[in-house]
Assembly symmetry: C2
Homo-oligomer: 339 residues x 2
């Protein structure tokens, strides 16, 4: 076994209590936006309007602010956090579905990881047994690899944030269950992502980091649980890193010259904002060289891997519908604009 | 010299270009909010209303989103970023002052570091020579140590973010130069901060991290440039860390039982959000035990030290005026709510 070069340094008490204590902090900091049902371990939106289609999501913890930080007006109605890097259980998802259904049905936004997919499927079946209509939408936008450590097919990553925002706006505007699910699928169909890591995450209950990586190496195409990407290589200038990331994305996304895109530069947890904006600068230049315009942007830590140093890029091809839904008001702990 | 245990891993090209490239990214990502004057190296608000009091701030880079990320409606009119951990020069500050003055005068919000204080003083004198009225407000809220590596008296840290938001709201509401400066001073007078670090920042041009720290140690009372705090000690449970941080703050701040506070848990760059909310949970509990209520909160990375793993707590005693100004709309790259 590899020897850890440093002990785990975290702001925690007992590693077993991290998720519950972090949820308690989320509830205490944002009592106007969310409440936490600790028995079912779900985050629920405060004061949701009745009668609208509801949206829930969920997955392992360690990716904050996703998903609990996206609960609120114009985005999610509930989130189901599992333990760190561990799928939530079907009972959580069922409890969330029942908590938010107002009769118009519930959309489940599910990242493509085997445990999440299986458990959300079971929860949807249980909900339907209780006469709640459910539409499931799968996100699988990570072009780095086909199949991965916990995934058959592509992994679901940054597009999930955008799908939750845009579907949330559609639901808030009175969209039907089918319409809300359809626009979430449209986001997934028109979005692609790619991530790179300089360092590993370290889960609170583990004696060592998730993976070992050399002092001058990066993982090109990393997953948000530290899953391997395409290759291990030497750290190089950001211009070259971004060129390879955007080539990987744009060779897979049908975005001809003249297209508008939402450019999302996401920090994986340990990379400071000064660097995220350097990435954004490179990305905007390289998009312009291809005749693409980033008419909307998002820069910051939105889907993370604990303290991993690294970043991902997500590009979403925009049309008028997606742009208007993106611009609609949102009021959650982590994403907030408009009224 | 200490031997570095890993090479610097950053998303950069030439270390000498980091600040300019990051500013280019800020401008490209938020063309609706800010523009960057690269000749003077200043970030300027787009579409500021004419005739209002203007507010500028500035300091070394490496603390993003502060200050460039706070330029926009309801907060700063301009920011002057120096090189990483290096004060901006008086010419930048003068250029910013002239760019934003609409005749009602300009407030300079200055963190208490020797270089910043000296250069802002020179800039204010130069501006007054050009018949621009300037009021300078010093922030010095860090209770960890009197005098420090770059500071006579206490360091200015987290309160700066709150002063910029609240003074910005006062200016937007039509406050006079004296009133805007007065409310910024009131925030500083009623706010206190304390920070701890698990790891060091590493400036892009340096061959080694800013300081060495043991594999099981934390710096208790760290500054945002890695300045020493009160002591080096072993990492311990977050409940104990927060208890010591809040004791240090509240033994210095006149906030009797029954007071309302704004509780600001700030990540220093490398600490993930799951941990920041664990800190917030502990803090809310410990405030309640003292009869204090956190009626407003801010949780996230707002004044950072590059990739440093660590966090600071800032408490601001609130009254109705400060609460209303905090709640007023703000629309900047990093802080955004209301309309």
């Amino acid at each position: 076994m590899a020897i850890a070069t440093h002990v785990m340094k975290k702001f925690i008490n007992d590693p077993a209590d991290v998720v519950k204590e972090s949820l308690a902090g989320l509830a205490a900091a944002h009592p106007d936006l969310v409440r936490v049902d600790f028995e079912n371990q779900i985050v629920v939106r405060k004061d949701a309007p009745t009668g609208k289609v509801a949206i829930i999501s969920g997955g392992g913890s360690g990716h904050e602010p996703m998903h609990g930080g996206f609960v609120g007006a114009g985005m999610l109605d509930a989130a189901c956090p599992g333990e760190v890097f561990t799928s939530p259980v079907p009972d959580q998802m069922l409890a969330a579905t029942k908590a938010v259904d107002g009769g118009a049905g519930v959309v489940h936004i599910v990242k493509n990881y085997t445990g999440d997919v299986m458990n959300f499927k079971l929860a949807a079946e249980m909900a339907e047994d209780e006469n709640i209509k459910v539409e499931s939408v799968l996100t699988n936008d990570d072009v780095a690899v086909e199949d991965s450590l916990y995934t058959a097919g592509r992994r679901g990553v940054g597009v999930t944030v955008l799908a939750e925002k845009i579907a949330g706006a559609k639901a808030e505007a009175g969209g039907s269950l089918e319409e809300v699910a359809a626009v979430a699928r449209k986001v997934n169909d028109n979005g692609r992502s790619f991530g790179v890591a300089f360092t590993s995450a370290w889960t609170p209950a583990s004696p060592t980091p998730t993976f070992e990586i050399g002092v001058d190496e990066m993982e090109f195409g990393v997953g948000i649980h530290g899953e391997p990407g395409r290759r291990r290589e030497k750290v190089k200038p950001v211009a070259e890193i971004v060129a390879e990331m955007s080539e990987a994305i744009l060779s897979d996304l049908d975005a001809p010259s003249g297209s508008n895109v939402l450019a999302f530069v996401n920090g994986l947890g340990g990379t400071p904002m000064i660097e995220l904006y350097v990435i954004y600068s490179e990305l905007a230049k390289q998009l312009a060289e291809r005749g693409l315009t980033a008419t909307r942007s998002l820069v910051g830590d939105y889907i993370t891997s604990l303290e991993m140093a690294g970043a991902s890029i997500t590009l979403l091809k925009l049309d008028d519908e997606l742009t208007a839904l993106w611009d609609a008001p949102v009021h959650t702990p982590a994403l907030r604009w408009g009224r």
